[in-house]
């Protein structure tokens, strides 16, 4: 058989709509996991014993159970307790929770890396714990963890392909349809592979730029 990509041309718009859905899911889940990751990172760096333990248990659990199992747990489980949400919302929630476990690690490392002298300066000038945290600790930690959070996003883009198993027609889901319509699975999945790789490559470039931009004023104090 000849390797013929032209069979895909009529389906490009269809695939693009899937890509848009992937972008939407990942964008929302990124926000979700950074928010969750921040909360968990705070709990993990706090002195409260039970909050710390609970946060650790969450990270440990969701990093050691396959995403597809987590996804099915929510997708089939939530209706069981009377919560009916669509595949899109389920996907965003599941990705946020799984991503949050990784994001919390990145943010926690950012918090722990903050120079103690800076915190002492805030303390002696009378800033409350809350203000110190929201105005100094978090902004610095988020800046320094741009790169690791970028890795979380890239992983999330790759993981989002699994959402095709709960009938969500994001990029991989659409590609499955095109593959069975054209009887050209090899071409379709090969192109899909390259598209994902290109996508994550572009995202990694964007992250490097963002990191440079956000940290240009921090140079010298943060490597």
């Amino acid at each position: 058989m000849r390797f013929d990509l032209s069979v895909l041309v009529p389906h490009l718009g269809f695939l693009a709509s899937g890509a848009m859905l992937t972008a939407a899911v990942c964008g929302l889940a990124l926000v979700g996991s950074v928010v969750l990751g921040m909360a968990v990172a705070i709990a993990r760096t706090s002195s409260g014993g039970w909050a710390r333990r609970a946060a650790y248990a969450y990270v440990d659990l969701f990093r050691n159970v396959p995403f597809i199992v987590q996804l099915f747990f929510f997708y089939y489980g939530l209706p069981e307790i009377g919560i009916y949400i669509d595949a899109f919302t389920t996907g965003v929630i599941a990705l946020s929770i799984a991503g949050g476990a990784y994001a919390s690690d990145a943010i926690r490392a950012g918090i722990l890396a903050i120079d103690n002298g800076i915190l002492e300066a805030a303390e002696v000038s009378g800033l409350s714990k809350r203000v110190t945290f929201t105005r100094i600790v978090l902004p610095i930690a988020l800046r320094t963890s741009v790169r690791p959070l970028g890795s979380v996003l890239i992983n999330m883009i790759l993981t989002s392909s699994i959402l095709s198993t709960i009938t969500l027609n994001e990029l991989t889901g659409q590609a499955k349809i095109v593959a069975s319509d054209t009887f050209r699975p090899f071409e379709v999945y090969f192109v899909l592979l390259v598209v994902y790789a290109a996508l994550t490559y572009l995202v990694s470039i964007g992250i490097a730029l963002l990191h440079r931009r956000l940290n240009r004023d921090l140079m010298g104090q943060v490597s």
Binding site: D115, G117, I118, E120, A121, A122, E123, V124, S125, G126, L127, S128, V131, R135, I136, P139, I140, R143, R216, D217, L218, M219, G220, Q221, V222
Partner: protein
């Protein structure tokens, strides 16, 4: 009045401050000398509440730093300038200065910024208000650090070796500003290795040795043969510092 009464501080088995007494009256400039490890930084950190005392008492205008309820008031009355500046790296020079006035003293933003700019102008940095710490030289950073402390209008300025991370030229920049502050009546507790400068601006000089406050004399007496120099440790310290 800043009162340090019989303060003791230990780290594990090591006694770092051993029965230190010190009084600083409004308008006074008191320099703290002593060799490395004698406890100078620890004394400053006890005064601004960064270290917990193991004995004795410190009050700032009557507020006891060991009482959690009074610590905030005590801290409002003292300002600290750090050896390594400790500026907030993600904030501009101006934001570094206005953050605490706005958040702690609840000053209106516009007022705080106007005062911040005036402070920057007074240290020759009027055009660097929007620069980030990384874009400033060491001397400039420390001048911002001084402004940040002054913005809270403290009764007492605590300075811990604020020029020891700077090269001679930058040191001169910063010392000029401190001399100006001393001249217009700012109360200072000044930990330093700059003996000559301390001699010029101080009303009193105290000498710490292994956590004990050995000497507490008016500046002129401290450098007199029958005053501070009569203490062998002080004489030794001064001759060593002058040689370096």
């Amino acid at each position: 009045m800043l009162n340090v009464e019989n303060v003791r501080k230990t780290f594990g088995a090591v006694t770092v401050l051993d029965g230190v007494n010190l009084t600083v009256k409004p308008g006074e400039v008191v320099s703290v000398l002593g060799s490395s490890g004698s406890g100078k930084s620890t004394l400053i950190r006890c005064i601004n509440g960064l270290e917990r005392l193991d004995g004795g008492r410190i009050t700032v205008d009557g507020f006891d730093v060991s009482r959690p309820k009074e610590l905030a008031e005590a801290r409002k009355r003292s300002g600290t300038v750090f050896q390594l500046f400790n500026l907030y790296p993600h904030m501009t020079a101006l934001r570094n200065i206005t953050l605490a006035p706005i958040e702690v003293l609840k000053r209106p933003k516009a007022e705080a910024e106007a005062e911040g700019r005036a402070l920057l102008a007074s240290v020759g940095l009027e055009d660097r208000a929007d620069a980030y710490p990384a874009q400033l030289s060491g001397g400039q950073r420390q001048r911002v650090g001084i402004c940040r402390a002054l913005a809270m209008k403290p009764s007492y300025l605590l300075l811990d070796e604020v020029t020891s991370a700077l090269d001679p030229e930058m040191t001169a920049e910063v010392l000029n500003i401190l001399a100006k502050l001393a001249g217009n009546g700012t109360t200072m507790v000044f930990v330093t290795h700059e003996i000559e400068f301390a001699r010029q601006i101080s009303d009193r000089i105290v000498f710490l040795e292994k956590g004990v406050l050995l000497v507490d004399l008016p500046t002129r007496d401290f450098f007199a043969q029958d005053g501070g120099l009569a203490q062998p440790r002080v004489a030794q310290f001064l001759s060593k510092m002058r040689k370096d």
